[in-house]
Symmetry: C2
């Protein structure tokens, strides 16, 4: 193993496995089959970029250590990024890769059976990109005596409250996000191509700040420009920036796979009054909301406080006001547990971490402002520090 | 719509839809539900980065135009990136997003039913990241009168032979890949941090060459260094490069979502003889193989020719020698159809495009060399042009 690829102590991993096993027990699950790369990473440290082929980490109630099953060539990645002994790293050969005749879940089923887990109560992550409809079909067909239980987000809920080391990585991720935001806004000049602004951001995300370098990005840089600022999720083009134009950025810093997201809007030249009004209303509502957040609040309260503060300006954001954030692999840093949205009754507690997303997309324009923060014992610690509000570059 | 986000003529899209409908008909499918972002892009041009929430493009045999269903806020992305009329863009509200009570597939089922498709023969992409086990469960439960047919890779097979415009984009993607490879290798010096080499590559990938700028990367930059070069799929760290060390790079250029991949190995300082021998054997086998590839060959022949040429050097590559490549979204540019692997009897024909992957990973070291090419009428046109072989930087 490479010691600079081990991001947490052995004790912290042991605690995680225990916490997962406790939740498994609560849900009547004896064997948990994790396919979400962020959950595999959380439980084992595995950080190979191999999740495009089928792989799994498995935790059983009857043993302390997880096992990893993946493509043979990627065992080397597990050796470098985890403390797992080689006996717990199982590889399948390439005749399982993109085959129409053999499926990796059949191989995995054999490995489960070998270990006496073939007729257990098995948890699977049904709502996860890396457990496809066919994965479910092949695994269940291959284990006719097992009982399958939906374990979607089981590990995600364990991940919700962060440890001191996790929080430190998210602070560092925010440093990276701030530096990338600054690099992007600094690069924006009339005539500069959008892709050159993007290049400045992508480089800053990984060069980092001092010793804090960045990992591969989780989400793509959203960078709509001009009339497209009403789009939340568009990438850059090669167009030169006009003399007078709005540019929205949503980007993240990633440190040891922990993500902090940030969004800011910029206007080259003098911004129209309508956009300025939207910006100041959004900013006021964001700050009212951040001031109000503290342990004991419900997740849905955040949505209502934010929209309540917008109301006097005749504005409303129908989409969620944010979500739990932490570990991420492409395409997403969202934790899939808590959303700031009506009906989400999760009680907020200390050291939960969120991305509060005040994206206001209207037919004619759009303004974005977002921050990543944690709950403290009495309020919030906002990780992202780039100056708030609309930047006008005259 | 933004004209610089329309990458193909309306005629080319019409041809694609016709080709897909013909294949649907051959497979007894009346309504095709596409969830793979690359297939949605191929059929409609949709290029929003919104696939982390559920979305679908649907093609029915009974109409010429596809429809798109996704999150409400992303309709704006469809307006900018497709020629689809707004009546064919259907959005669901945020109460379907990461909800445990409502599922987007229930909404989609209602829309199918409204259009009279609720009891049709419906094709779904069972082996696709964006059609999870739960998606299948919710869609089938919501459409009890439908007949479901597995349509995994149906559109991927239509994509296999490229049009002149697609080939042009792949040539441009190769320009980007070459430029990024050069930027990376140029940046490698003793003492330079790995992340700074990565930053140079990421910036070059999107700055591009002249007017040819790059899109967001599809796969992450694989960049194992030192003892880790036996790992295919590891990202960079922040370590300074040693005076004498091997570095492997696998990266891609992306142009209008079309990908060309390239891999090269570098050694700072004098390379060990064992690595040099591996490099020259690999290079010779690659060149023998590229010389032999022509229309009429079977996909598996490529594997055997490559390994046959390696044999006299006592080397063997057990994993596939490459695969079809084209459109890609994270995490993968692989087309999932043809693999250069025993048992793949696909007959190679003109204008199929492949990434030939000669990654030789051994316990003690590793050497990588890959190119992206198309079949011509009599041989190959290799898109990637960066000088082949091991680069020794003294």
């Amino acid at each position: 193993m490479a010691s600079d690829r081990l991001y947490f102590t052995a004790n912290e991993y042991a605690d995680r496995i225990q916490a997962i096993q406790k939740r498994m027990n609560d849900h009547g699950i004896e064997v948990l089959c994790m396919t979400a790369p962020e959950n595999i990473f959380y439980a084992t440290g595995y950080d190979g970029w191999s999740f495009y082929t089928h792989q799994m980490a498995i935790i059983s109630l009857d043993q302390k250590e997880p096992i990893w099953i993946g493509r043979e060539m990627d065992i080397a990645c597990a050796v470098e990024t985890t403390r797992m002994p080689e006996k717990d790293l199982i590889g399948y050969s390439d005749d399982y890769v993109d085959s129409t005749e053999k499926h990796a879940m059949e191989f995995i089923a054999q490995e489960l059976t070998k270990r006496g887990w073939g007729s257990k109560k098995i948890g699977v992550e049904s709502e996860n990109y890396f457990f496809t409809a066919r994965c479910a079909e092949k695994l269940t067909q291959s284990l006719p005596n097992a009982t399958f239980i939906d374990a979607t987000n089981l590990v995600n809920w364990v991940r919700l409250v962060k440890s001191p080391q996790e929080i430190q990585y998210m602070r560092e991720a925010a440093l990276l996000a701030d530096a990338a935001m600054k690099a992007g806004i600094d690069a924006m000049e009339p005539g500069t191509r959008e892709c050159d602004v993007a290049a400045a951001i992508l480089a800053a995300q990984v060069k980092g700040v001092g010793d804090v370098f960045g990992d591969p990005a989780t989400e793509i840089l959203a960078m709509p420009v001009g009339q497209e600022v009403n789009c939340p999720h568009l990438a850059w083009t090669g167009r030169p920036l006009a003399n007078s134009t709005p540019i929205n950025l949503e980007l993240g810093g990633v440190r040891r796979r922990y993500n902090s997201g940030i969004s800011r809007s910029t206007h080259l030249g003098k911004a129209p009054d309508s956009l300025k009004s939207l910006a100041s209303a959004t900013l006021e509502a964001l700050e009212v909301t951040l001031d109000a957040i503290k342990p004991g609040l419900l997740a849905e309260d955040v949505f209502h406080i934010y929209n309540g503060a917008l109301e006097k300006y005749g504005q409303h954001k129908p989409s969620r006001t944010g979500y739990a954030i932490g570990i991420g692999y492409p395409p997403v840093w969202i934790e899939r547990t808590v959303s700031f949205f009506p009906g989400d009754k999760t009680v907020l507690t200390e050291n939960m971490t969120f991305h509060i997303m005040c994206g206001m997309w209207r037919d004619e324009d759009g303004f974005v402002e977002s921050e990543t923060f944690r709950l403290t014992d009495s309020g919030v610690e906002v990780f992202t520090q780039y100056p708030r509000g609309l930047t006008e570059k005259a």
